[in-house]
């Protein structure tokens, strides 16, 4: 747990502080939804019911829950290939996410996008982008529209530590800073790119935060495994953005439990690293906090059971669901609904 020294101490507080019971239960539920749905996705790979690739956020649930939990309707999320968590956290039904992973007609995009491209405009999930860095400038654009229109929504852009070394990161951060755009850049530092430790290929210790000054922004590193910490950091950044204060760059320290993607057994990790991170498992930690704040065990168990049932039901629904109609192969290339490039 090399980076523990950067963490804020566990938050003080009580059930009815600035976050409050209702929000806390929601943050808990979101984390459990992600955990259960991701674990189910993994089981479905093993059964060969999820084809292609898939990138799980097991271990990183608090980041997604905290940032989404602090959003208002109308705020926009921009995700990566590792986007199931952020998509679910905005309230997209589990069945649509699993359905997409399984290539079913009930999938969020009827199987056309797949695991790496989850999009639900209705829920403010403006796409999941599979080319490293591409969505940072795109999020700037959405924020520019908000600024131009005088809308009060915030664009929130999630990406990994490895993404901080690609050119688009730099261009987007400078652009957002100069134009004072209402965009929040969230770096989920899970210590690894695909298989290579970020520290092997980065000139600074904190790949995002240590570069904030390059864009005139404050250095922010937070404990990404504590949903309360994440939630508070999100609120602060959103408030700043809505008030015309410009962008924020927040580096969240966290860890992914499974391999980078379906294909990866993650053997490159030093012994014990995973286990040490699991001691600070975001869900375990949050459950303990709820208990410590006096939330009853039954309330917690109820959430666990409800989510479990939801995931089970979604799984069955997906298994029974039809594949997409083959004629959608050529729909929606152009706005006229088709793919005609000639007369």
């Amino acid at each position: 747990m090399a980076k523990l020294e950067d963490r804020a101490p566990a938050p003080k507080g009580s059930l009815n502080d600035d976050i409050g019971e209702e929000k806390r239960l929601a943050l808990y539920r979101t984390q459990v939804v992600i955990r259960e749905a991701e674990q189910r996705a993994y089981d479905l790979f093993l059964q060969n019911l999820v084809k292609g690739t898939s990138h799980l956020s097991l271990g990183q649930e608090a980041v997604a829950a905290g940032f989404a939990g602090a959003m208002r309707p109308g705020d926009l999320s921009f995700c990566t290939y590792r986007g199931h968590a952020h998509t679910l956290a905005r309230g997209v039904p589990i069945v649509q996410v699993l359905g997409e992973l399984m290539g079913r007609d009930i999938g969020l995009m009827r199987g056309k996008g797949g695991s790496m491209h989850l999009t639900s405009v209705e829920h403010g999930v403006m796409g999941s982008y599979a080319i490293i860095g591409a969505h940072l400038p795109i999020a700037c654009g959405a924020a520019w529209r908000a600024q131009y229109k005088g809308a009060k929504d915030v664009s929130v852009c999630f990406f990994g530590d490895g993404t901080t070394n690609i050119g688009a990161f730099h261009e987007a951060l400078n652009f957002a800073a100069v134009w004072k755009l209402p965009v929040v850049f969230v770096c989920e530092n899970n210590l690894y790119m695909e298989y290579t430790p970020i520290s092997d290929v980065t000139a600074v210790k904190h790949p995002a935060a240590d570069r904030a000054a390059s864009y005139g922004l404050p250095r922010i590193v937070i404990d990404g495994n504590d949903a309360d910490v994440v939630y508070r950091a999100a609120i602060e950044a959103y408030d700043k953005a809505r008030a015309g204060g410009g962008p924020s760059l927040i580096e969240c320290m966290t860890y992914r439990y499974s391999g980078h993607s379906r294909a990866d057994p993650a053997k490159y990790r030093p012994e014990g690293e995973l286990e040490r991170w699991k001691e600070r498992d975001p869900i375990k930690l949050y459950r303990e906090r709820l208990r410590a704040f006096g939330v009853g065990e039954d309330a917690i168990l109820r959430i666990d059971a409800e989510v479990k049932r939801e995931v089970d039901e979604a799984t069955e629904q997906c298994k029974a669901a039809a594949p997409p109609a083959l004629d959608i192969l050529t729909t929606d290339v152009y706005a006229d609904g088709g793919f005609a490039w000639r007369n």
Binding site: V121, G141, W144, S155, N174, A335, W341
Partner: protein
């Protein structure tokens, strides 16, 4: 009716659309206060103000990415990429982002934007500032691609591009900026995907684009006067959507096909059109379809070298004549 330069037509085209629709915004490097390096955006900053006409850093990925994010969420951005060669530094947006977002999202995401860019040779700028790269875009499913050859078309196609619900790459030819043409008064709106027969003829069909249109026309006149060969010249105008009806219709009358491309030889729009003709109009063809192109080389800077690189009136005429009279 007024005579306008191609350069001023760009200004008028953008102004027409910005006046019409407050959601049309315009960004790029040096396009605002300075009026653009080709002076093709002079006055827009004063007319529409710094909020709608906005100078950017030298960050082509940020420019196109921002245009896309704005387009997805309700604006109609026009983004300038100064020289079309620079599309290479932001090609991810052109190749992977703009054109795939609608499809991947099963129609949820829209991307109504225009990228306008200075394309083509003739200014002695050398290999990295002179390319014709419309093929880089034509080959990408999901884009629309236009390249006007006259001031009137600049305005009409600009309007069509801005109003189009899909991403449109708009190639302005640098060597045409100073050329002039008649332009009607009032609003001009064209349609994407229509080619124009700019010279009717019966002996052969010559397809051309942008700077090659005046050259093909001049070659046709030369062929007529010197050899009695009567060529039909078609300004393709829009590569996607592609007006194959007009093109194949012409071929059905003339039975011979020539394409005149400024881009280097391999995998150009000429190859696409020859392939379409060879497949669909095989029995219409009385002889081999011929592509006249820049050779497959980077472009040289020196004037005499550049002049022999791009298809010239003489080369076009000679090639057509040789092919028809062999």
């Amino acid at each position: 009716m007024a005579e306008l330069t191609y350069r001023d037509a760009v200004i008028r085209g953008i102004a027409q659309e910005m006046t019409r629709d407050p959601d049309v915004v315009f960004i790029g490097e040096d396009i605002g206060k300075a009026g653009g390096v080709f002076k093709a955006t002079v006055g827009l900053y004063d007319q529409f103000g710094p909020v709608r006409v906005r100078d950017t850093p030298i960050s082509e990925q940020a420019i196109l990415g921002a245009a896309m994010g704005a387009a997805m969420t309700g604006l109609k951005p026009i983004a300038e990429i100064m020289f079309s060669d620079f599309i290479a530094v932001c090609f991810d947006y052109i190749a992977n982002e703009f054109p795939k977002s609608r499809y991947m999202s099963n129609g949820q995401v829209k991307c109504p934007l225009v990228v306008r860019t200075g394309n083509g040779g003739g200014a002695r700028f050398g290999a990295q500032h002179s390319q014709s790269v419309e093929n880089w875009c034509m080959m990408i499913p999901g884009l629309k691609v236009v390249a006007p050859s006259s001031p009137r078309d600049v305005i009409g196609l600009m309007a069509a591009a801005v109003r189009d619900p899909d991403p449109v790459i708009f190639f302005e030819h640098k060597s045409l900026y100073a050329t002039k043409g008649e332009v009607p008064d009032g609003e001009i709106v064209d349609t994407l995907g229509s080619a124009k027969i700019v010279r009717p003829g019966k002996d052969a069909t010559i397809l051309a684009l942008a700077l090659m249109v005046p050259r093909a026309l001049a070659a046709a006149e030369k062929l007529k006067s010197e050899h009695g060969i009567d060529c039909e010249v078609i300004d393709v105008r829009s590569l996607v959507p592609l007006d194959t009806k007009t093109i194949l219709g012409s071929l059905a009358r003339t039975h011979r096909l020539f394409t005149v491309e400024e881009n280097p030889r391999l995998c150009g729009w000429g190859a696409e059109l020859v392939s379409i003709a060879a497949d669909e109009a095989f029995y219409d063809l009385d002889g081999p379809p011929v592509r006249i192109t820049t050779p497959h080389i980077p472009l040289p800077a020196a004037d005499l070298l550049e002049d022999i690189a791009l298809p010239s009136v003489e080369r076009i005429a000679e090639r057509v004549q040789r092919s028809l009279q062999s």
